[in-house]
């Protein structure tokens, strides 16, 4: 039942981009008589300026994240956390992923792949990891790119709100998997 639904959604998704790429210019040209080629070419140079504009912000955030990651400071933090909180294996094994997820996309992808390879796709650990990964985003990267593209440097409550949502997502992933998949 769920499988049919998942497959259905994915196969619909496959046609969305082609439909948009053709459908939007078609509507513009046929209904509104917009000179689509001319508008397209004029718009294209924005892509370049935008990409160049986010470079300083990306360098700042990714360098800091990279240094933090490379120092293995997370391991120290984990040892500290595991003293206080968690006493079951599936949760503890996913703790590094939960901490890495907001910081680094490639880092958390690596951790998640490790979890699957070590524990197997059918394990609760791997399922929690995949849920956690699928239900959140690389908060710091998104912040750097989105705010950087318009030159916003004072992010106000964006980080506390983003990290709170990440924490809720990670905790939900653990409990939902334990509740629904065991």
């Amino acid at each position: 039942m769920v499988e049919v639904f998942v497959e259905g959604l994915s196969s619909v998704a496959r046609y969305i981009i082609p439909t948009l790429l053709v459908g939007i210019p078609f509507y513009a040209l046929a209904v509104r008589k917009v000179p689509v080629y001319e508008v397209f070419v004029v718009g294209a140079k924005d892509g370049f300026t935008l990409a160049v504009r986010i470079i300083p912000y990306l360098v700042a955030i990714l360098v800091a994240v990279g240094m933090f990651r490379a120092s293995v400071a997370l391991v120290l933090l984990l040892q500290l956390l595991s003293l206080f909180f968690f006493n079951d294996a599936a949760t503890t094994e996913n703790l590094p992923l939960a901490l890495m997820r907001p910081l680094s996309g490639s880092g958390s992808l690596g951790l998640r792949t490790d979890l699957v390879n070590t524990h197997g796709v059918d394990s609760l650990t791997a399922k929690i990891g995949a849920t956690m990964f699928g239900s959140s985003e690389t908060t710091f990267y998104v912040l750097a790119v989105y705010f950087g593209s318009v030159g916003v440097v004072r992010s106000r409550h964006a980080i506390p709100a983003g990290l709170f949502a990440d924490a809720v997502g990670a905790v939900s992933a653990v409990y939902l998997c334990k509740l629904l998949l065991v």
Binding site: I16, A28, S71, R156
Partner: protein
């Protein structure tokens, strides 16, 4: 906030790097990531140009306005300070739809377009508005209806097991994000004035 987090990550990186005997890796990571950042940005140029152009066509043909009007009842609650017929609403809606359908490549350019349009309404160009923070928080909490391709590839047949847990977890985190933004934006220390005052004073201290 970002000042402390940014410095903190580097300082902890160096301190923990020395403690863990990983200081060479920390040094290498700094220059590697600087390079990676530029590669990411350059890699975005083409895909960004493509989607910005499609958006431009959609805008000129009036499509964006039609979409924005239709979803106004929802967006009015989330982005009360964006005027009804502003193009930002259209871009925001398209970005969220792309995210929900797992179309990451299209989502980023659409999101940046939305940020650009939100910036037009911003009085303090270097400080985020309530709408910008709301938009960002919804994006980072990752609204989703389809599992990411990497999850499906890795989990194989068990991917459908985690479909429901993923959708529910992302739903909870999005609700948490919206609630947190709405609560925090009313707090004095996160107000536009307080944020500007705090960082300006900091600059003065350091000459």
């Amino acid at each position: 906030m970002l000042n402390y987090i940014w410095f903190g990550m580097m300082a902890i990186g160096v301190a923990a790097g020395i403690y863990n005997g990983k200081i060479d890796a920390v040094t290498a990571a700094a220059s590697d990531m600087a390079k990676v950042s530029v590669n990411i940005a350059i890699g975005l140029i083409g895909i960004m140009a493509l989607w910005l152009c499609i958006m431009k066509i959609a805008e000129e043909s009036g499509l964006i306005r039609i979409i924005a009007k239709g979803l106004r009842p929802i967006t009015l609650r989330l982005f009360p300070d964006v005027p009804e017929d502003h193009p930002a609403i259209g871009s925001i809606v398209l970005n969220m739809s792309a995210n929900m359908l797992g179309l990451g490549n299209a989502a980023t350019p659409l999101g940046l377009k939305a940020m650009e349009e939100l910036q037009e309404l911003n009085e303090h160009k270097d400080t985020a508005t309530n709408s910008m923070v709301m938009f960002l928080a919804i994006n980072t909490s990752s609204v989703q209806l389809i599992l990411p391709a990497t999850v499906v590839a890795l989990m194989g047949a068990t991917a459908s097991d985690i479909f429901i847990t993923t959708i529910l977890a992302t739903l909870f985190s999005t609700i948490a994000a919206i609630t947190a933004v709405k609560v925090l934006e009313k707090m004095k220390r996160f107000s536009v004035e307080a944020t500007i005052a705090a960082t300006t004073a900091g600059d003065d201290d350091h000459g």
